[in-house]
Amino acid sequence: MPDKERIVRVPIGPQHPALKEPESFMVDLQGEKISAVTLRLGYNHRGIEKGCEERTYVQDVYLVERVCGICSHSHSTAFVQAVEEIAGLELPHRAAYIRTLIAELERVHSHLLWLGVAGHEIGFDTLLMYTWRDREQVMDLFAELTGNRVNYGINTVGGVRRDISPEQLPRILKVVDALEERTKYYIELAMTEETLAQRLSGVGKLSKEDAVLLGAVGPTARASGVDRDTRRDDPYAAYGELEFQVVTDDRCDVFGRAVVRLGELMQTYSMIRQLVRQMPEGPITVKAPLRIPAGEAVSRYEAPRGEDVHYVKANGTDKPERVKIRAPTLANTQSVAKMLEDGYLADLPIVVAAIDPCFSCTDRMIAVKTREDARTMGWEELVQYGVRWYRERGVDVSKIKMRGDSTA
């Protein structure tokens, strides 16, 4: 006689047909329902942060770009922004526009890629083939504008490496027009196709409170009604000069995340049009010193998956002293465990895919050194310590309010 209370532990990964990257889940099952999930990451840990310390800033741009191949521009931009801030370089106007243009094209390719993968996870392979076919147009554009389909290598400290010719601008618009038509079709499909809505609705619930509490970022947070987008809240590159809306949704489930990403695609098309229309003339680089003066900087960037944070510490040589990368998936993995709880095992692939995970971004390592004077701080004590630390440096944290966070 089967025991209903019995918990069966199912190992999933590191090699799994549904998940293209190596990560492993230990799923505790009660019948079909998931009672607990333990994540094990780190299969993709290569030691990039340490490698950055051994290479020069120019080499690091290309190494950091290979943190992740899908959002490669995000990482290289976040890194060079930090270095430029330390070196006190003023980014040329045209370079900022080209960077933003590539960033938005990357968002198009990434979101279309996600839509296809999401279709694949629910057994809708036609959608995968459709979106990936459409995505090839963006890839062609990348090949033309930057010289490579993936890992564009367009960023450099102090600007961009390739200029965009006037003949290329209409071609960008043409691709955007074609893709906008296709995206409208996908939106219609998502809104009217009964099977898609039924399969995705109510799956992988994440309430707004939990999204804030677990520090979710990007479309995952926005689909839970958290109105947060680095492009608007802390504009970098050319975002301050663009008009766009931050797409949010209150469905709090996988369907909501699909709706947010499709909505973002439409916003992105409008942004690309603005960028192409307003593209200023001028130089594309400023001369950057090989030795970056001592200092530190934190750089934020809204990657297709969410907020990407880079911290760079320079010590006056041509190599950074420390580079720290916080990729968006790391912020979102915590929420996956929450989304999966009380869900069904069959929903696992799509729920994991819904945060658009990128584990090669995520697999960083922190070594904790125990010292003799080490002690454990409680949450309250830690908060007080943080507030004090900033106040000593002239920042009053208590005045900072987050937009749209009633719970924060």
Partner: protein
Amino acid sequence: MNVARRMVRWGQRKSPWILHFNTGACNACDIEIIATLTPRFDLERFGVLLKGTPRHCDIMACSGPVTRQIESRLVRIYEQVPEPKLVVAVGSCATSGGVFNGLYNVKSGIDQVIPVAAYIPGCPASPQAIIDGFAKLLKTLEVGK
């Protein structure tokens, strides 16, 4: 070569099933492998079919420089693939470590761990290069060679 082996060779050449395994890559080669299987490039016209489990596959397409964490798993997965099996190293870092060469947690290439039949360079390997690599590999499988 006996008749049974010739039959297997023939089948493998006409329709090789592949397993895609990320051994610590940056995802770029992985999305290019998937792109190669989708309509624009359509590797399936050579009979190549992506499979989810090593027990069903003939060819392992590995991308990535092999991290220390994945090394033992790669060997285990390789052992699960039925004979005769082939391994394709996709991308520069799978071939030689590429940009990650020298980092503390990576080996320099798939061939440090398991035997490799074909190398496809490129960072990332473009779909055209992947098709070319597979076509050349399949050619070596022609019966009588």
